[in-house]
């Protein structure tokens, strides 16, 4: 039963997908490419697409499901990859929420703040390196423009993303 096999692959990989698709990329590749469900080229293309589209980068799994088994495959992949983590975090949140007013639970959360901010800061910095590519000057111009607008105006994040997109496109035409 192909759909069942597909669901099981995505479900068990979803269970260990801490932090997004990157942590499980090798495992996905082994199960899907070596298992003959998708060609190596198809896998790479799905990965690129998953990075480009909005929303969680797990979107690549839906693409692979579609190409392996049509619309039903896409639905099975979508449900498979998300149901495990959602169920786990549901339980974890319910437990945390029940105890969050207890002083030492509150202190655990406070204690973890520097760790979380440090991790996010590091990932932002390394993402910047990847996103800029070879266009260092253009990246700097867009970064400064968006930074100044964010600090000095009431423009929201969504508008600023589109300002950044327009600035980069213009810059690439001009430079």
């Amino acid at each position: 039963m192909k759909l069942l096999a597909l669901f099981w692959i995505f479900f068990r990989i979803g269970l260990v997908s801490f932090g997004g698709v990157f942590s499980v990329l090798p495992e996905l590749q082994r199960a899907l490419v070596d298992g003959g469900l998708v060609t190596p080229e198809g896998f790479i293309q799905a990965f690129v697409l998953g990075q480009v589209v909005p929303g969680p980068n797990m979107a690549m799994c839906t693409v692979i499901g579609w190409h392996a088994a049509g619309p039903a495959g896409a639905v099975v992949a979508f449900l498979g990859i998300y149901s495990g983590p959602v169920a786990m975090m549901g339980v974890a949140y319910a437990v945390y929420h029940r105890w969050r007013d207890v002083t030492w639970v509150r202190r655990l959360e406070l204690a973890m703040r520097p760790v979380v901010l440090g991790l996010l800061g590091a990932s932002a910095a390394s993402l910047m390196w990847t996103a800029a590519g070879t266009h260092h000057v253009l990246a700097l111009v867009v970064a400064v423009a968006v930074g100044v607008l964010a600090a000095k105006t009431r423009l929201g994040a969504l508008s600023l993303l589109f300002v950044g997109a327009a600035t980069w496109s213009l810059g690439q035409l001009v430079l």
Binding site: P54, P56, W66, P85, Y93, G121, A150, G164
Partner: protein, 190 residues
């Protein structure tokens, strides 16, 4: 003490997720988009509550963005609304990816340029967001009391050390295996 604060309906919450799910190009922007939607634009949560939600969502297993939406949804509109919110967040990108996989023009310069612009902008917004979170390092379990200078300095050093170690290429698990015990010692010997 708390004045009447706007409470979202399930529909409000689904609309927020659908918007972010459809327009959040560039992964770094997503936390900031949620903060805009939930704290700045609508006032459903205070900045301090958002700090707490973010820490919890980042530490629990699962894709970060889905975690954040899930716990925000759970606090704002309950379990059913949170589940539907996740679907609204994940579905547009999945559909778009499948649709685009027939075309595969994503490596063209005119597609790449706006995407790069959005990615860089999102990262800048995320860095500014993190900067604004720094005062939260002075919080204690009692909202009226600030942490001692020793604790604040220790938390700042820990933040910088974690960021540096990850950027220097240390494995995530190794960093967490050291940082989490240190964080606990800092907090519970204060």
């Amino acid at each position: 003490m708390t004045s009447a604060r706007p409470v979202p309906t399930a529909t409000d919450w689904l609309r927020v997720n659908l918007t972010i799910g459809t327009l959040s190009f560039g992964s770094a922007s997503r936390i900031v988009l949620y903060e805009d939607a939930v704290v700045r634009d609508r006032g459903w949560l205070s900045a301090a509550e958002f700090d707490e939600v973010l820490t919890v969502a980042q530490l629990l297993p699962g894709p970060n963005l889905v975690n954040l939406s899930a716990y925000l949804g759970y606090r704002l509109v309950g379990v059913a609304g949170a589940l539907l919110g996740i679907v609204c967040l994940c579905l547009p990108g999945a559909v778009l990816a499948v649709a685009l996989s027939g075309l595969l023009a994503v490596d063209r310069p005119w597609v790449q340029a706006p995407l790069r612009g959005m990615a860089v902008s999102g990262i800048v917004l995320l860095l500014m967001f993190l900067w604004r979170r720094l005062p939260g390092l002075g919080s204690t379990a009692d909202p009226a009391v600030l942490a001692s200078t020793r604790v604040r300095v220790a938390r700042g050093v820990l933040l910088a050390a974690v960021a540096t170690a990850v950027l220097a290429g240390a494995s995530l698990f190794a960093v967490l295996a050291v940082a989490i015990p240190v964080a606990l010692v800092v907090e519970f010997t204060a």
